[in-house]
Amino acid sequence: MVRILGILVGLGFVGVAAWSLLWGAVAYLKEPPRETVEHQFHHHARDIAFSFDGPFGRYDNRQLQRGLQVYKEVCSTCHSLQYVAFRNFRALGYSEAEVRALADQWRPRTPSIGPDGSPAERNSVPADRIPGPYPNEAAARNANNKALPPDLSLITKARHGGADYVVSLLTGYHSPPANLPRENRPGPGLHFNPYFANLNIAMAPPLRQDGQVTYADGTRATREQMAQDVAAFLEWAAEPHADARKNMGLVALIFLLMGTILAYMAYQNVWAGKKH
């Protein structure tokens, strides 16, 4: 009885699914789907070799310090880094005094409340999170042609391609190709960038020329160098414990491997001579 009912119900679902398939196939044959313009002109992120790639890769503190400098002098004009605190910069190899000085001199300052209760500002301390450039979203949009510069604390984890994507995007601006359809050309306040999903991005090219930043360690600040340094820094900002995670992972794998070998030997020993 259940089998008869089952077959009837089964025929029902199979029939309705086949009905959808039939109409889908008809529509497909009548009007085959065409590749969208966005898809056609979109580029996948370049493959960049970073020091932190792979299970044995680790952050390069000198690169992270240079990246912080690029963030501070270029990106922080528009982009916040709200989940990173000044104290976290100890991990980049700065001393406590250097972190304190960095926080104290950081502009903009940290929002505060004055003695009379009115909004005020004070110098930042290492415990503060990095103050963003705008007091709120409305102010950010107002200053940026109604576009919202995203917070960068998680940007490499929030975009496919991660740090590779950041480098590609920062160095990927060029004038739109001649065969780009008119409706896909950048409108006012937009810039063509094939690495951006819809090809036109509101962010003006932030790294305009070599030497835009003068690195404290004397590294030549080419656009590519600056892009890679800031991408590495943002990767650290998104995943600050990656080095500790990989170190712990290697120890954990060795430990678990030994445990598993012992468990295998125990298993073989217990079953020795027992046919199964």
Binding site: V14, A18, N88, K157, R245, L253, Y264, K274
Partner: protein
């Protein structure tokens, strides 16, 4: 319960005897996973996965309880508190990555466990209740995982919650009020997040409870085995401890090794980048995709694209829920008296087609709803329903099965009377140097 030759619990220590008279908990353990539970001697490694699922649940509960100490279930603070866990809580990244990847591994081992049951006919009499309780656990797992994914309140959390609760809106007349009632408003918001957090904490313990029933029901007939032949004599079985505790220990080691590779080196491989963007009810992601373990069902949902008497969306919802609910009827749809697929050549062929079919459905479910993926998932959906509701019932009428072995021990020993000598017997003798 169990077989007449099962070992009896005989506490030696006076305290254990005292305890046994008052609270026979050690006796319960002894009879459930100790020497007192005789298990077929021929179980292969696919029988490891039930224990591994239990291990995965334990990991989820332990990591989840600690995560809940640091998490804040508020629409304004959930995302930030997740980042607080990742950055400021000692070992917080480890807990969260273990919990997120642990959920995936829980599903991997559960899927293997379910397909083990499908191949070896574990749903057949007398184990129908074991099978159905297992399906209840699976449904509870899906609900728990779905609500857990909402908690970080990223873009996929929010839009996933909106899409999945929106499925109830497809029910005629009462759908919309049910959806509003479920999420406590017209769109996912604070009320949704708080109730999902509450239920996400509750359901794992409900799962643990149903697991107890699942194991209880299993221990009435005892475990099945790859031949599907009933246990007949003491020669057919070995005590669970030490034989299967040792075997499960090895399985658990491999499980933890693979989990560690993911947690420490590819922690976000199974996740979606969009969930690191805070929830925004004004910006719909380009593609809304659930977690990978829901992809086959998501593909079935989206396979129904044209109205047929009822709206296409309602067909999709009915098919999605139906694809799991039909499994409850499996013991009565497949009436073949032979349990194991190893002795059913046609069944075995269709079984492997089903495995490929579900993998195809999973692949399509993770892709955007575009051609050719929609047409492929329609073909795969047709096979899925045909397999369980048409092929299996007919097959159990017409299939000619292979001859079964007389007993488990015969299939293992091939007529040899006794055990071979232990391989290390020479080492056990005292050395005479």
């Amino acid at each position: 319960m169990s077989f007449p030759w099962a070992e009896h619990y005989k506490p030696k220590h006076p305290f254990m005897r005292w305890m046994d008279d008052r609270l026979p908990l050690p006796r319960l353990v002894y009879n459930a996973v100790g020497k007192g539970y005789p298990v077929p001697r021929n179980l292969n490694h696919f029988w490891n996965f039930g224990v591994l699922a239990g291990l995965a649940l334990t990991l989820q509960i332990v990591t989840g309880i600690v995560l809940a100490m640091h998490y804040e279930p508020s629409a304004a603070g959930a995302f930030a508190s997740t980042e607080h866990i990742m950055r400021d809580v000692n070992g917080g990244w480890f807990l969260r990555y273990l919990h997120a990847n642990g959920a995936s591994f829980f599903f991997i081992v559960t899927y293997i466990h379910i397909f083990r049951g499908l191949y070896y006919g574990s749903y057949k009499p007398p184990r129908e209740m074991v099978w159905m309780l297992g399906l209840v656990i699976f449904l509870l797992m899906m609900a728990t995982a779905f609500m857990g994914y909402v908690l970080p309140w990223g873009q996929m959390s929010f839009w996933g919650a909106k899409v999945i609760t929106g499925l109830f809106g497809a029910i005629p007349l009462i759908g919309e009020p049910i959806q509003t009632w479920l999420i406590g408003g017209f769109a996912p918001d604070q009320a949704t997040l708080t109730r999902f957090f509450s239920l996400h904490y509750l359901l794992p313990f409900v799962i643990a409870g149903v697991i107890i029933l699942h194991i209880w029901a299993l221990h009435i007939p005892g475990s099945g085995n790859p031949t599907g032949v009933d246990v007949k004599s003491p020669q057919d079985t070995v005590p669970f401890h030490p034989y299967y505790t040792a075997k499960d220990g090895f399985g658990a080691g491999l499980f933890l090794l693979l989990l560690a590779v993911m947690v420490f080196f590819l922690p976000n491989y199974l996740a979606h980048a969009d969930n690191y963007i805070p929830a925004n009810n004004m910006a719909t992601p380009a593609e809304i995709v659930p977690e990978w373990y829901f992809w086959p069902f998501y593909a079935i949902l989206r396979a129904f694209t044209y109205d047929f008497i009822l709206p296409a969306k309602l067909w999709g919802v009915m098919a999605m829920f139906g694809s799991i609910l039909l499994l409850f009827f499996l013991p009565w749809l497949d009436k073949s008296p032979v349990r194991s697929g190893s002795y059913r050549p046609k069944f075995r062929m269709f079984f492997w087609i089903l495995v490929a079919d579900v993998l195809v459905l999973g692949y399509c479910g993770g892709k955007p709803a575009e051609e050719p993926f929609v047409m492929i998932s329609q073909v795969a959906t047709i096979y899925y329903f045909a397999h369980f509701l048409i092929i299996l019932p007919i097959l159990s009428w017409v299939e000619k099965t292979l001859p079964l072995p007389n007993s488990i021990s015969e299939s293992v020993l091939h007529g040899e009377a006794e055990e071979a000598a232990p391989a290390d017997i020479g080492l056990a003798k005292p050395a005479k140097a």
